[in-house]
């Protein structure tokens, strides 16, 4: 076990980091917002934490939440001009937001180090602390699934005019979706800074956006299990495909096409659906005496 841990520790850490970013991406989709702003939120949190950690004596228990806070603030500010946009237009606008954040990071050289970025960040995160933070994010997402907030998000994602006809303020809940996505993105951006020694603007570029989207599309867009499966596959795939050397990216692409074609809801969502279906068939539809645990685990 210990041997396994040491040889695969970088893979596990990578898995935990991308898990956090994937939840940030997923919560936006769950709320019916086609935002791909996670990279921007991660950059905001990542830079703030990196700068505070290298230039100030602010204690870590303040710095890490500050990363989440600036991400949430970014989400809030972003939600205001985007309130009237939907679908692909939100995606384009949030991609522009990512580009603006990167441009700012390049421009304010005194603060951000420009193209070189911030270097010599103390490395204080290890597998265990990353896992703890991932559990925190999973808990928040689980909570959404077992409260009415999850139903409201599902309503917004499926038919927002129905939600409005029932008194749901679309603007307010889209804003909440943006802020939660921003907070998680900022938090994990900051954790990443405290893990990788140095960050630079291009680390949050288009490749980052695509990778995180891929995790969520592969894993699933609505269930708790989705990002876990997606991030797991994305972490293990390069290891499994290592013997293929130069053909690795091609194999990645082929596997992705296959999954999207045959499991369009994603691996995790498909599993949860199947389990839930079977469980309901066995149980039948009778009024529960107590709310089922399984419902909470398979939150939607």
């Amino acid at each position: 076990m210990i041997h396994f841990y040491y040889s695969y520790q970088p893979v596990i850490d990578f898995f935990l980091l991308s898990l956090g970013f994937a939840y940030s991406q997923q919560i936006a989709l769950r709320a019916g917002v086609f935002s791909i702003g996670t990279a921007g939120f991660a950059a905001l949190g990542g830079y703030l934490v990196a700068i505070l950690a290298t230039r100030t004596e602010v204690p870590m228990w303040v710095i890490i939440p500050a990363g989440a806070a600036i991400g949430a603030l970014g989400g809030y500010v972003l939600s205001i001009p985007l309130a009237r946009l939907r679908g692909a237009f939100v995606a384009i606008a949030t991609l522009a937001f990512v580009k603006v954040i990167i441009a700012l990071a390049l421009y304010f050289e005194d603060l951000t180090g420009g193209a070189i970025g911030v270097t010599n960040i103390p490395r204080i995160m290890d597998t265990w602390s990353l896992a703890l933070m991932a559990l925190l994010v999973i808990y928040v997402n689980w909570s959404i699934g077992r409260t009415t907030l999850g139903r409201i998000f599902a309503a917004l994602a499926q038919d927002e005019s129905v939600a409005a006809s029932l008194g749901v303020s679309i603007r307010r809940y889209h804003m909440i979706g943006f802020m939660v996505s921003g907070a998680i993105g900022g938090l994990f951006g900051g954790l990443q800074s405290l893990y990788v020694y140095n960050i630079e603007p291009n680390a949050f570029g288009f490749a980052f956006v695509v990778t995180i989207l891929t995790v969520v599309v592969l894993g699933g867009r609505t269930t708790l299990l989705g990002p876990i499966m997606g991030a797991g596959i994305m972490a293990i795939l390069p290891e499994v495909a290592r013997p293929l050397a130069d053909n690795r990216t091609m194999v990645n692409g082929i596997i992705m096409i296959l999954v999207i074609t045959f499991l369009p809801r994603g691996v995790g969502d498909t599993i949860v659906d199947a389990v839930r279906h079977r469980w309901r068939q066995r149980r039948g539809a009778s009024r529960p005496q107590k709310q089922e645990v399984a419902d909470a685990v398979a939150s939607d």
């Binding site: 909570s143 907030l149 309503a155 409005a164």
Partner: protein, 255 residues
Amino acid sequence: MPSLRIENIAKHFGGLKAVDGFSMEVPPGEITGLIGPNGAGKSTVVNMIAGVLSLTSGDIKLGDRSISTDRTEQVARAGIARTFQSIRLLPETTVLDNIVIGFHRHEKAGPLAALLGLPSATRELRELREKAWDLLERFHMQEYAFLAAGNLAYGHQRRVEIMRAMASDPAILMLDEPVAGMNDVESDELAEIFKQLAEQGLGLLLIEHNVGFVTRLCRQIYVLDAGRLLASGPPEQIVNDPRVIEAYIGGASAA
């Protein structure tokens, strides 16, 4: 319970006067009918009340309060629920949770409590699901509770939509062609439920094509034609009104 008053409303799309100077009242404890041939402007009226379309002129009041400039969710929060002409459920969500969303107007736990998973928020979902079960039992739909709403038969989907609207415990319920595509047994069952709701003090606005169904249920009927009020009155008066017959059958008196 307040009544819904529509005062001289108009909606013009450019030169087209979809609704032009229409007034009506939906009092509590009664079923009020709104009928008219295709393209008469019935759905436009509903969408104006619901806050989906803005008014060109006129006013809409719920009790003493004007709701004519309110957004959709504000109208819903004021106590006006609706069903849609083409059924609109959340297709991937279970029947039970489709109804739970209907209770949104009465939710108390805030989003922060939900994010932190506080007991107040999780308890609220449990309680609302209990209430949703009560509604399911009333409509004899328990066996479909855990099915995705999109997989139900047409008539059942209609019922889920009506249950969802009722979940918000509205003062006014607007039903846009609720029995379209239903057989007589199904529509009779619904008629019985509508009568019960009216007896409880709800004001129902029934928008229908099916004149027979409307005349059986409504105390007062308004007939809309080409955006204008053609006639209004009790059912027996409406069905014998030559103008109404002409609008529906088309120039019968000239033949």
